[in-house]
């Protein structure tokens, strides 16, 4: 039984997350098996691609209820964070409904969409997940859709409008940026998550 499980949500690019955890000395298993996921100490939900495809994949593996029922810390990354919300405009998709709110396309403010690059986060609420991460710390974003700032937002990112960068509801955490590609700051966030 593995300690850390990365949910196989069908997107490519699970290797970079696995390598990032490896650099922290943590071995992660990739799985789409409900029993394996439920038994893990930490669960990561990555996601690259479209919301509808990812939800269809979770559904086809009977993972919707499994994920909702988790009591151990889970970290959704990028699309994985967006899936925690109720609904995404991307493909008009019903999501996991763990965090209240709706994901929509990044509002047009004359900036390129997708947001693809380094940006800083504004901490709105202190949390162990953000320990040691400050206002001058850049992280790497790649996304066209985003969640607005809501009651569970821990940190926001300014990209024309304020968007959710880090969210947490109880044991369910999510980051819009890619910690596995965010140099030492990203490694710090992953380490914080592993220590929650």
């Amino acid at each position: 039984m593995s300690d850390i499980v990365i949910i196989d949500s069908g997107g490519a690019n699970l290797a970079s997350l696995q390598f990032a955890l490896q650099r922290l000395g943590a071995q992660a298993t990739v799985s789409s098996d409900a029993a394996t996921i439920s038994a893990a100490r930490r669960v990561l939900l990555p996601g690259v691609g479209a919301a509808a495809d990812a939800m269809a994949r979770l559904r086809s593996h009977d993972l919707i209820e499994c994920i909702r029922a988790l009591r151990q810390p889970l970290l959704g990354i990028c699309l994985g964070m967006q899936l925690l919300y109720q609904h995404s405009d991307e493909g008009d998709t019903d999501c996991l409904g763990i965090v209240p709110g709706h994901v929509a396309r990044i509002p047009e403010h004359g900036l390129p969409i997708p947001q693809m690059g380094w940006n800083v986060c504004v901490t709105l609420r202190d949390d162990p997940l953000l320990r040691g991460i400050g206002a001058r710390d850049y992280v790497y974003f790649v996304h066209s859709y985003a969640a607005p700032v809501g009651p569970h937002t821990l940190a926001s990112v300014d990209y024309g409008a304020a968007l959710t960068a880090v969210v947490r509801r109880d044991n369910f955490c999510g980051v819009q940026f890619h910690p596995e590609r965010s140099a030492v700051v990203g490694a710090r966030l992953l380490q914080n998550f592993l220590e929650l």
């Binding site: 490519a12 390598f19 691609g49 997708p114 693809m116 690059g117 890619h178 590609r181």
Partner: protein, 235 residues
């Protein structure tokens, strides 16, 4: 990084480490002879690079299908960049964007300044095959975005390798038609050239190879300079 000669993987890993430690924001690996030689980038070294790199990296060279791209992304690349294969079969861009999302799909464009305007070139990795792709650069920029490109890297061939500065006029013309991130490529010789690309052509990123490989510009010095110029960069 542009590789004009075969290098052993050890060298690439060392370079990747060096740039990571110097504060590069992203690395692009071009296997520029892949398309002219009819092959794709080797996934073995992509995986080895992915193990040491904690910044985004993009891989380019001979990616002709969703399956080619999937191999590289599964090996740990962040994005794939397509150039000649997309010119031969533009629907490749649509297919990649549908499967992986636009944010994974970079379209690289080698553009030459000619009396007829800016023209797209293909197979530029091989001087004997490099040829006009019979496309106007500005209309290709628009088409690539419509098909799902999430980023455009514009390499201005006339200025590439000569270190006289990015082609600001051409970048400006492309910027007007480019609503996805635009990366300037070709011509960086001094820190001022980088500042000009950001300030005058409003590009989202500036790519350089020879000035970094040769050590004539150190990335930390360049970033300090840009910050002094009030250009926002990750310190």
């Amino acid at each position: 990084m542009r590789f004009r000669d075969h290098r052993v993987v050890g060298d690439i890993i060392e370079l990747a480490r060096r740039y990571r430690d110097e504060g590069a924001d992203e690395l692009v690996f071009y296997d520029i002879t892949a398309s002219p030689e009819g092959r794709s980038v080797d996934r073995q070294w992509v995986s080895r690079v992915a193990q040491v790199l904690d910044i985004p990296f993009c891989v380019a060279g001979g990616i002709r299908s969703v399956a080619d791209a999937e191999e590289l992304l599964n090996a740990g690349a962040e994005k794939v960049s397509v150039n000649s294969p997309a010119l031969q079969r533009p629907a490749l861009i649509d297919e990649l964007a549908r499967r992986f999302g636009a944010q994974c799909v970079v379209v690289g464009i080698d553009s030459q300044t000619t009396p007829e305007g800016y023209r797209v070139y293909q197979f530029t990795g091989d001087p004997t095959r490099s040829a006009d792709a019979r496309r106007d650069t500005l209309s290709w920029v628009v088409e690539a975005q419509q098909r799902g490109a999430g980023e455009i890297v514009l390499n201005c061939m006339a200025s590439d390798g000569v270190r006289q500065g990015y082609d600001i006029a051409q970048l400006q013309a492309v910027r007007q038609r480019c609503s996805v991130p635009l990366v300037a490529s070709g011509g960086a010789g001094t820190p001022e050239h980088f500042a000009a690309a950001f300030r005058e052509a409003d590009v989202d990123a500036a790519l350089a190879a020879s000035v970094f490989h040769s050590g004539s510009i150190a990335i930390p010095d360049l970033k300090r300079y840009l910050l002094q110029q009030s250009i926002e960069v990750r310190p």
